[in-house]
C-alpha cells in the first residue's frame, strides 16, 4: 500500500525520522569518541547502535521500491525535476561540509603516537561526522519539502 501510494506526508515522515535518528546517534557517537560521553544507561549498547542503520536501510528501501513500483503519475509529481534539483543542492552541500570535516578530523589526530586504536577511532569519527551532516541535511530537506508542498 505504502509502495503504491507514496505521498508527500509519508515521504516527509520517512526522511524526517531517518534524519533525526542519524543526528541522534551520530551526535552520541561523536561525543563518546571525543571523550564527552553522556552517561546513558543503554543495556544492550552495541545492538542499540544498529537501530539507525536498520531504519535508514528500511526507509531508503521503501522510498526506492515506491519509486520503481509505485504509481507512475504520482511519482512523476513526487520526484519531479524541481525536487531533484533541491536534493542535488543539499547533497553537494553535504559533500563540501564532509570534505571540510574530514580535513579537520585528519588535522586533529595524534599522528606522533599513531596506533591501530587511533586509526579505528578516526574511522568512527569520520563515519559519525558524515552521518551527522547528512542527518541534518536530510531533516532540513524533509521539512522544507513538506512546507513547500503545504504552502509554496
Amino acid at each position: 500500500m505504502i509502495l503504491k501510494e507514496m505521498t508527500y506526508f509519508k515521504r516527509f515522515l520517512i526522511v524526517f525520522i531517518c534524519g533525526i535518528m542519524q543526528i541522534f546517534y551520530a551526535a552520541y557517537l561523536l561525543l563518546n569518541l571525543f571523550g564527552y560521553s553522556i552517561d546513558w544507561h543503554i543495556s544492550n549498547h552495541d545492538l542499540f547502535m544498529f537501530i539507525p542503520g536498520i531504519l535508514v536501510f528500511v526507509g531508503s528501501g521503501i522510498l526506492t521500491a515506491s519509486y520503481y513500483l509505485g504509481d507512475k503519475k504520482i511519482n512523476n509529481i513526487l520526484y519531479d525535476e524541481y525536487t531533484a534539483l533541491r536534493y542535488y543542492k543539499i547533497a553537494s552541500i553535504g559533500y563540501v561540509l564532509n570534505g571540510i570535516g574530514i580535513f579537520v578530523l585528519f588535522s586533529i589526530q595524534d599522528w606522533a603516537n599513531w596506533s591501530f586504536q587511533n586509526a579505528n577511532n578516526m574511522i568512527y569519527q569520520i563515519a559519525a561526522f558524515a552521518w551527522l551532516i547528512f542527518g541534518v541535511l536530510l531533516t532540513i530537506f524533509a521539512i522544507g519539502d513538506y512546507k513547500e508542498y503545504k504552502n509554496g
Binding site: 512523476n76 509529481i77 513526487l78 519531479d80 525535476e81 525536487t83 534539483l85
Partner: protein
C-alpha cells in the same frame, strides 16, 4: 511579465490565469508538483525543455510566449 529568474523572463502566471487554470490544474497536466509551477512563476526555478514544452502544450501556446531571454 511576472517575477523573473535572472537568466529567464517568464509570463507563466498571466498566461495560466488567462487560460482559467489554477497552479494545481497546470501541474496535473504537466505531471509535476504544484510547487514546481509556483517556483517557475516566481522566477526561482528554470524548467527543463521537456517541462517547458509540456506547460506550453497545456496552455495552448508556444514556449517563446511563456519564456524569454533577458535582453
Amino acid at each position: 511579465m511576472g517575477k523573473h529568474h535572472q537568466n529567464l523572463l517568464n509570463n507563466l502566471e498571466e498566461l495560466r490565469k488567462s487560460a482559467g487554470l489554477t497552479q494545481q490544474d497546470l501541474s496535473e497536466s504537466a505531471e509535476v508538483s504544484r510547487k514546481s509551477i509556483n517556483a517557475i512563476e516566481n522566477g526561482i526555478y528554470v524548467p527543463s525543455t521537456v517541462l517547458a514544452l509540456k506547460i506550453a502544450k497545456t496552455l495552448g501556446c508556444k514556449v517563446e510566449d511563456i519564456f524569454k531571454l533577458p535582453t
